[in-house]
């Protein structure tokens, strides 16, 4: 199943031109080797356009947003709200007010766990998660059920790294009030069938939160078409600054929810004993926000839209296909689906007898940056009985040559370990 099958053919990415926009990709290691950055699932690099947008904000427009009555304050507010409108359009949200700015997916999930789950859940209710969730889509719910008496259930995963939908009916019942599921696994790469899960959840009256940390940067997303209730968005994984990102929520939910953090600007009126809340989305944006970072995220969205998200996804399919093929050839075990059309570009693997930490250190000597560890996916590690994996992940600026550099560096690990 090709994700982009029914879409017009995307113009292929001009990766050489893209790379010229990322100054960091031109640097070398202390040994003079070119940098091969294969850890975009942890955080993406930033193009000049984003770096400049953030710097330009501080140089020319800096003021607090939604506060002052002077020129700079108006400019800052316009830029900040302009970024909100861009993010709303980017994920197919019906109106900008349905986007709350946050520091990223972790904060977004915690916001829903506090302001929605703690308000509406009670004993006997269930939240359905999956065994491939990132810790940031597990722990906030563990804390929420501790306070509400609700319970957590987990949809298992198959040996091939897919959600085991054959047992969905047993896990998704009229007790289920929320399904919180990743849009793309950060260790297995898996793309769960979101539309199917959302329709099934709605059929039993449950809401669905989609963890978009890996999904939104890599795949065209339309929350209206999906009918998702919540979508968490990480800015720094999609070319934006760290501490940028947001939460999409259906307006009716956002209005019914409790406030999250209390503070300035989230209120309407404050009395000695109580307060009333500002309108959505400001009800959830307490204190001075990450204004310059969200403005930078707006520039990242402009950049991705100019590339075209269909082309971004097509490039990911191509480079992931090549990477998996070469890793398997080299004798590595690759976790998750091997068909790149049903997965993203975060590729976890184990290379021969070399522990992932040792591998990452050896690859680093060759200028190749990969991640090693449990990737905040301890449930996945346990499922496949490994203490950790090595992970290479790809984005718009990665090339087949860089995959080759990874494979060449693997051979170096063999030398060190004397195979």
């Amino acid at each position: 199943m090709a994700v982009t099958q029914d879409r017009p053919t995307a113009t292929p990415l001009d990766v050489a031109r893209i790379r010229a926009d990322f100054p960091i990709l031109g640097r070398t290691t202390p040994d003079g080797l070119p940098l091969v950055y294969l850890d975009s699932a942890a955080t993406s690099q930033k193009p000049n356009q984003v770096i400049d947008a953030e710097a330009d904000f501080y140089r020319h427009h800096n003021a607090n947003a939604h506060r002052g009555l002077y020129l700079l304050a108006e400019e800052a507010t316009d830029l900040y709200e302009g970024a909100r409108a861009k993010l709303a359009r980017f994920v197919g949200a019906p109106q900008p007010e349905t986007i709350i700015f946050t520091r990223g997916t972790t904060e977004s999930t915690n916001l829903v766990a506090h302001a929605w789950a703690r308000r509406f859940l009670e004993e006997g209710d269930e939240i359905l998660l999956t065994d491939m969730e990132h810790h940031s889509n597990i722990v906030p719910w563990q804390l929420a059920v501790r306070d509400t008496g609700a319970t957590l259930r987990y949809l298992p995963i198959t040996d091939d790294g897919l959600l085991d939908l054959s047992v969905l009916d047993q896990h998704l019942t009229d007790r289920t009030k929320l399904v919180a599921v990743t849009g793309m696994s950060n260790s297995l790469g898996t793309l769960p069938p979101l539309k199917q899960l959302i329709d099934a959840a709605h059929a039993v009256g449950a809401l669905v939160l989609v963890d978009g940390a890996q999904l939104v940067p890599h795949v065209p997303v339309d929350v209206t078409e999906l009918d998702a209730d919540f979508l968490t968005i990480s800015g720094h994984k999609m070319l934006g600054p760290t501490a940028s990102g947001g939460l999409y929520g259906k307006l009716e939910h956002l209005e019914a929810m409790d406030a999250f953090l209390g503070g300035g600007h989230m209120i309407d009126e404050v009395f000695h004993d109580r307060s009333t809340w500002n309108a959505v989305p400001f009800k959830f944006e307490a204190g001075t926000m990450n204004i310059a970072q969200e403005v930078g995220l707006g520039a990242a969205i402009d950049y991705l839209e100019a590339l075209g998200m269909d082309a971004v996804r097509q490039h990911e399919i191509e480079i992931t296909t090549y990477a998996i093929e070469r890793l398997l050839e080299a004798g590595a075990t690759v976790y998750g689906p091997h068909d790149a059309t049903v997965r993203g570009g975060a590729v976890s693997f184990w290379y021969k007898d070399v522990h992932p930490h040792d591998l990452a250190t050896i690859l680093n000597e060759e200028g190749v940056a990969i991640r090693a560890g449990h990737h905040c996916n301890q449930l996945v590690m346990r499922r496949y009985a490994v203490p950790a994996t090595a992970r290479a992940s790809f984005y718009v600026y990665n090339t087949a040559d860089e995959v080759d550099a990874l494979i060449d560096a693997l051979a170096k690990a063999e030398g060190v370990f004397g195979f």
Binding site: H355, P356, H357, D358, T361, I362, E365, A372, G373, H374, Q378, M381, P387, A388, V416, F417, G418
Partner: protein, 149 residues
Amino acid sequence: MALDEIYKEVILDHYKSPRNKREMADAPLTCSKNNPLCGDEITVYVNAEAGKVLEVSFVGQGCSISQASASMMTESVSGKTVEEVERLATEVRTMLAGDLEPDEDVFGELVALKGVVKYPVRVKCAVLAWDVLQEALASDGAAAGSSPH
């Protein structure tokens, strides 16, 4: 080059042929820890009496540095007093922080770990076994030599 230092023969040797890697069912002291960043796991078993460490063994899984460090540790502490072990643990930590040039007479093979200084994120891997050992010793006042009367 740098790698030759860190993966010296001695580290690889201890990784591939770990010493004292076994459970000690009747050990009076035991402690387990993992490194949440990377999933290294080590359980240490200690047989100590009257302030003296008689025998130490370990089980676990993880990278070459964490497992070799545990293996070397078991050899380096057996037969020492708890006080000597505590002192050595402090010195190993200081060496791994880059603040001590180790005395080979005292350190023996542990000297091989000093290459880890260049890889700050991996210092945690090297000290994990020592953390576990010290916690095991601290769990028992008698073994530490404190007088029961």
